[in-house]
Structures are given as C-alpha cells and as structure tokens.
Subunit: 215 residues, 2 copies
DNA sequence: CTCTTTATGTGCCGAATTGAACAGACTTGA
DNA sequence: TCAAGTCTGTTCAATTCGGCACATAAAGAG
C-alpha cells in the first residue's frame, strides 16, 4: 500500500475541484495552447504532459522561460489583470490541461480553501524555482546550463522510463539555455564523447552529467 | 486634491495591518538584514528604502537576484516551509522594514482579506517581473542589461530627485547584470562618452539611455 | 521510391568576454 | 598626516561565443 504525502492529497483534492470548475482540453504534441499577445482570460492547470512557455523579444529572438509538467499552473498573470498573454504556450508531449476562467478561479481562491492553498503553494514553488534559474543564468556557463536543462528534463519523466526523453531539438535547447544551436551541438557532442549522455531518437541522460552541472 | 488608485488604498490598508502584526526594524545603508543559510522564520515588508537580494553559488560567484523598493515583500519562501534563507538581504539605502512571523502571516493570509489580496497580487507582480528579467538574460547583451539595470534603479527614486542615484559600485552592477567589473566599467565609460549618463558620487541617468536598452 | 523538409555534425572567423594585473583617485581612521 | 582600504580607469592575452555556410542524415509526403 502506498502512503500519500500531504501535498499529494491536497493536489488530488484540488485537482477534482478544478476539473469541475473548468474545461478539459487535450493538446497533441507540438500543439500551441495559446499565443503571446492573444487575449488572456483563463488560468491553466496541467493534468498530464509537458508544456513549454516561450517569449519572443523585440529583436525577434525567442527564449524558453519555463518547462512545466503535470501539477503546474500557467497563465497566472491574468489573475493580475493582464489582458494579454505574455508568452506562448506549446505542448511538448501530448497534454491534458484544465482551463479555468479567471473570474471562476478568482472566486475559488477566496472561497475554496483547498484550492487556494494549493494554488499559492505552487506559485511560491515556481517563484523559487524561477529565482534559482535566474541565479543560474547569472553565474553559470552555457555548458553548465545545458547540462542542467537536460537533467531537469530527465527528472520530468516517470522513473520507469529511465530518463529516455522524447527528444527536444537543439534549436529549442539553445533557446532554453540562451545560446546558439551551434553551441548546443558542440556541447552535446562533447557530453556524448565523455559518455555523459547518449541519444538516437530518445535521449538518455546519465547521472554523471551532474558533475558538469555542479561547477 | 490627489486621487488614490485602488492599489494604493489597498496598500495603505494592508500596511496598517502589517505594521500592527509585525515588528518595525530599521537598517542603515549597507546593513545586512539576513544571511543566506540562516534560519528563516519571518516574512519582510519594505516600508521605506531599497533592499538587494544576493545569492552565492557553489563556485563562490555571487549574483544579485532582486532589487526591491518600498511596498515589496521578501523572504516569502519561508511560507512554503523553507527553513533557511535562500538568499542574503542587504539594505542599499537606509531602510525600514516590517518583520512578520511566518505563522502570523500565514494566519493573516487566510483571515484578512485585504492583506491576502495585497500580498498575492504583489507576489504575482514580482513573479511577472522576474520572468521578464529572466527572459532579458536569455535574449539581451550585457550592455543592454546594464542599461536596463541603471534605468530600473533610476525609476526607483522619487521624481524630485531627478534620477540622482546614490551610487552602487561597479562590482555590484556586475553581479546584477551577470558579467565582470571590467566589462561594466567599459560600458559605463561608453555610456558616459555618448552622454547617456553622468556621475560623480551620484549617478545621473538620462532618458536617452533607453535607446540602448531597447534593442 | 524520389523529392522535400527538418535536424544534426562540422569547420571557420571575427567579435565579445573573461580574468588578471596595475596605477591613480578618494576615503577613512589611527 | 600617513597608511590601509576601496573604488575606478585602463590594458591585454587567452578564451569563449555568435553567426554563417555547407555536408550529411533522417523523416514525411506524394
């Protein structure tokens, strides 16, 4: 018998309520959930799958600002009266999301204790995570950040898949790390030569890659 | 007669309640508010002054992850059961902060509607800001980021001071931007030669600096 | 199967950046 | 007033990085 942690119970309970309050939407791999600049009226919650948020800058360069998995919210800024999406959301794998109208969500955050504590806890968590990523950008080399991005994606997959990650192309990796594809290619090959990763179609990340990420 | 915006009224009301619930603490310029790794039991709210959050990495490099002014909260992670401070908080100018024990704060977030809406709104705002900074790191050059950091600090000062900023040294600017002091020095001189800034003791940022920041 | 498209492997060169050193200006405190 | 400490200005070689071009490989469409 499996013992659930408090957070899981909370998540499960909140999940049920959210499902009732919102609409279920399925998105195929590579499907666009919404586009930067489009009107934003809802908060999203990932039930299954992986979602990527990207921002395109004035100078046309694109950056991946988050990779999110089941249990994460996104498009929260609309709760703060942002009328337009600040980023583009794309499904990396086949994904199920719950879409909750922002006024419905706002009401629940006041009235439904379980939802509100779950939501704010996740928000704090992603804030902490984001600070960490930001710090990482400031102090690490692009090789280290690439290593960390690969490890992060590996963690995102259930253990029985032993870190066989449906591959994200090198262009996107570059946009996650803040460098160019040629640089990513260079590092990927170096990692491979050192036996830290292997790939063909799927990516296999070895634990030893951590030694690169950690300084 | 001055018309207050909704947010200001909310802030004023929340400020009063927070002041009652917490302890006032004054910190001189350059004073350390808390240190990374020290036990974290309270949430902080800035009443007056400017506070900088820094993180020191394994590789000993330091990064400034936030510059906060009056009306901002910090050390929120402790609400998520982080027992230790994830960053070091330092006052840049003479500062007054309200210190609120985390369980007191947690209770207020449930019972005091005005506090909770104010707090969560600020949290969302700083999350959005942080995403923006993160995105900026990914797509901009260090020259652009330095320009933006200077503009940001200038905005932080009341208009009647016409952007005369008590100077932050170049080492710290480097840690804000994620580069080296020599690079900051190089750019500062370039900005000066172009007439975009001027300084001696205090920094004067001209509006034209925006042209550098924007692409 | 062939054509098209998309992604990866490589190499190269100029530009940007690091990291370190050192001199001068200024501040502070004994 | 002298010494120590801090900050800025400046230089420079070594390294890292961006941007480009092109070959190859793989996948998908017709």
């Amino acid at each position: 018998m499996h013992k659930m942690r408090a957070i899981d119970i909370q998540a499960a309970s909140a999940n049920g309520i959210l499902e009732e309050a919102g609409t279920l939407r399925r998105v195929a791999a590579d499907g666009i959930i919404y586009t930067q600049g489009a009107p934003a009226q809802s908060v999203f919650f990932i039930q299954k799958g992986i979602v990527m948020l990207t921002v395109r800058a004035r100078n046309r360069r694109r950056a991946v600002i988050a990779i999110l998995s089941a249990g994460s919210f996104f498009s929260e800024p609309c709760l703060n009266d942002h009328r337009k999406h600040l980023s583009t959301a794309t499904a990396i794998t086949a994904t199920s999301i719950i879409v909750i109208k922002k006024n419905v969500m706002a009401r629940m955050l006041v009235k439904e204790a379980s939802v509100s504590s779950f939501f704010w806890t996740s928000l704090l968590t992603s804030m902490i995570q984001l600070r960490d990523d930001f710090h990482d950008m400031l102090v690490s080399t692009s090789e280290q950040r690439l290593a960390r991005a690969l490890l992060h994606m590996a963690q995102m997959h259930p253990p029985h898949q032993v870190a066989h990650i449906p591959i994200v192309n090198q262009q996107i990796l570059a946009e996650m790390v803040g460098t160019t594809r040629s640089r990513v290619n260079f590092f990927m090959n170096r990692f491979r030569k050192r036996g830290l990763i292997s790939y063909n179609g799927y990516l296999h990340v070895k634990n030893a890659l951590k030694t690169v990420a950690l300084r």
